[in-house]
């Protein structure tokens, strides 16, 4: 937390591994590993989850397809078995109940045409599904 311009977003981006930032010194210890040694996708697989204020749209990619790729890559990284279609759908159903979203949203393109509220709901849906160990929320204010 902090006032505008105090560096919340920058910190979150650095932790998540955005290319725009260069870390000149220091280490980031996260559950016994130095985050700075890891690629952005490995940081995510270790459990860093960043909630975007304005998630990007990816036309033509359904939420369900996206989630399946993400979850299975995370599972492979963690040495867990890859989920088949049936158990994946089951997991989706459980988590959907948790955040009370409608099934029809799953086949919609990723974040495309969602109003902000819905985007945020979807974001909190994706969060428990990928089972992270930390969550950093970014709340930027528009000028």
């Amino acid at each position: 937390m902090g006032p505008n311009g105090s560096g919340k977003s920058t910190l979150a981006s650095v932790l998540a591994g955005r290319e725009d930032f260069e870390v000149t010194q220091g280490t980031v210890d996260f559950l016994g590993k130095n985050l700075l040694d890891l690629s952005p996708e490995d940081r995510a697989r270790e459990g860093i989850f960043m909630a975007f204020q304005y998630p990007v749209e990816i036309p033509g990619v359904s939420t369900i397809n996206f989630m399946k790729s993400a979850i299975n890559q995370i599972r492979t990284y963690r040495g867990q078995q890859v989920l088949d279609a049936v158990s994946f759908l089951q997991l989706m159903k459980e988590k959907m109940k948790l955040v009370e979203i409608d099934q029809s949203l799953l086949s919609r393109s990723l974040n495309e045409g969602f109003r902000e509220v819905k985007r945020n709901v979807m974001k909190f849906f994706r969060w428990p599904c990928s089972n992270p160990s930390s969550l950093s929320l970014m709340r930027q204010t528009r000028d």
Partner: protein, 481 residues
């Protein structure tokens, strides 16, 4: 070099999967092209006199024509005397069953994932396999003939159904249509022929698989599909070639003819060898594809996924002659490294209330050039014609090019034409978003590209759609700039 550029390097240098060759004993024509070559091919195929005359007429016209220079592609001039125009795997005099086919050949197609032995085939697809210049096997023929459907190699059709060939050959693409069509008409060696009788809905996908094997040869095949009144057929075409340092020429002609209430759906996954990452070798793919919606309410739908070839020059088109006829063109063209593609369609509206739809998705990466060239022509008599075109380009990296050349000619003021175009790059934000959800860069690009091309991929029959998705991912994963 940024990380994304490195990934681009790695992925795009991925080797071409179908680059192997097999040792097939071949029966070849001497190198070069003259009237003798045309006579040689015709004699080899035991063709009737009229067809030889037709070929010779095409050859004489071709000699007077000049190679087109308007496409947005560059290549060293082709030496037409340095090509072998006929190459056939040697075979026994008469093939009665697949058991007699050269086992090397069967292995070749099995390597490509195409089994010619029918019991092993996916049910629901009949295949005609063309290697170099001739068709080597056609599956499910008997089952189809029970319905009166003719599906066989072109040479066989000339022997067994001369009346149909005589009537429809060149009826959609005349011999003097263009330089490469004339060349093909003179020296075409084989291909597929398909006839669907009145009111029959073809129960399975028909498919031709083209493979170039021999060196220094050109492949000149011809496909002719005739759909009689009220019939329907879905046709698939796939192609691969070995990796060679020299360029090889492929100049095919495809003619589709639909009568009243008939429909043809034609899908292509083109994966000819594109050349290596420095632009050496690869296939010159100069193809004329055209469909004639002759009858009222007929429909022709082209779907193409173009990932291969050093140069692609092809415009699958529809002539909408029948009233209320419909033409569709769905295309994904991917170019990488030094590939060049100039592709699109022509929709010629002649009949009343004719409708056409164009969806073109270009993807360029590496140092490639990708052009969409399309024509929509509404003739005087075509009242209430409708067209909707959508041309999207996706760029990866900063050294490739995407170009759009739409031509619109309207001679009837009741027409309604719409053209939409977008150009975009894969955004770093999109990639980062995927990375942050644990998806690596390769998979991220595959997801984004497949999403971008989804509208077209959805048009493909199931088995083909899966193959096409893999192919897109393979050609482009990680190509971000």
């Amino acid at each position: 070099m940024s990380k994304s550029n490195q990934v681009l390097e790695e992925i795009t240098s991925k080797e071409y999967e179908h680059g192997w060759t097999v040792n097939l004993e071949a029966d070849e024509a001497p190198m070069g092209l003259n009237e003798g070559t045309v006579r040689f091919i015709s004699a080899k195929k035991g063709e009737p006199e009229w067809l030889l005359e037709w070929r010779l007429k095409a050859f004489r016209l071709w000699q007077k024509m000049i190679e087109p220079t308007w496409p947005n592609v560059t290549y060293p001039s082709i030496d037409y005397q340095n090509i072998i125009y006929y190459s056939a795997p040697k075979k026994k005099a008469n093939l009665n069953s697949l058991n007699e086919v050269d086992p090397e050949l069967i292995k070749t197609f099995e390597k490509l994932g195409i089994s010619l032995t029918e019991q092993k085939r996916l049910t629901g697809v009949a295949v005609d396999a063309v290697i170099d210049s001739v068709s080597v096997a056609t599956t499910f023929k008997e089952k189809l003939s029970e319905l009166g459907i003719i599906f066989c190699s072109f040479s066989e059709a000339v022997r067994e159904h001369p009346e149909l060939i005589k009537k429809y050959l060149g009826s959609v693409v005349p011999i003097n249509d263009n330089y490469f069509a004339a060349l093909n008409s003179a020296v075409f060696s084989d291909g597929s022929f398909c006839y669907i009788p009145k009111g029959i809905r073809c129960p399975m996908e028909l498919s031709t698989y083209f493979r170039i094997n021999a060196a220094n040869t050109g492949q000149f095949e011809r496909t002719l599909i005739v759909a009689d009144e009220g019939s329907y057929v879905s046709y698939l075409e796939g192609c691969t070639a070995p990796m060679r340092d020299e360029n090889q020429l492929h100049a095919a002609v495809v003619e589709l003819y639909t009568m009243k209430d008939a429909e043809i759906k034609y899908s292509t996954v083109q994966n000819w060898y594109p050349g290596d990452k420095n632009g050496k070798g690869g296939i010159y793919n100069f193809v004329t594809k055209r469909g004639l919606c002759f009858g009222d309410r007929s429909k022709i739908s082209w779907t193409q996924v173009e990932t291969g070839s050093a140069i692609t020059w092809k415009y699958p088109s529809c002539i909408l002659k029948g009233d209320n006829s419909v033409g569709e063109f769905y295309s994904v063209a991917v170019t990488n490294n030094y590939q060049q593609a100039d592709t699109g369609t022509k929709m010629i509206h002649i009949g009343k209330n004719t409708r056409s739809r164009i969806v073109s998705k270009g993807i360029s990466a590496g140092k490639s050039q990708n052009s969409y060239r399309g024509q929509v022509h509404v003739m005087k008599r075509a009242s209430n014609a409708r067209n909707h075109s959508q041309c999207d380009s996706l760029l990866m990296g900063d050294q490739c090019g995407a170009h759009t050349f739409p031509y619109i000619d309207v001679e009837n003021n009741s027409a309604r034409i719409e053209h939409e175009a977008t150009t975009s790059k894969i955004g770093e934000d999109q990639i980062f978003y995927c990375l942050q959800r644990g998806i690596d860069e390769e998979a991220a690009v595959a997801l984004i590209v497949n999403g971008y091309a989804k509208e077209v991929l959805n048009q493909l029959p199931m088995e083909f759609a899966v193959e096409a998705q893999k192919l897109l991912a393979l050609t482009l994963e990680g190509s971000v700039g």
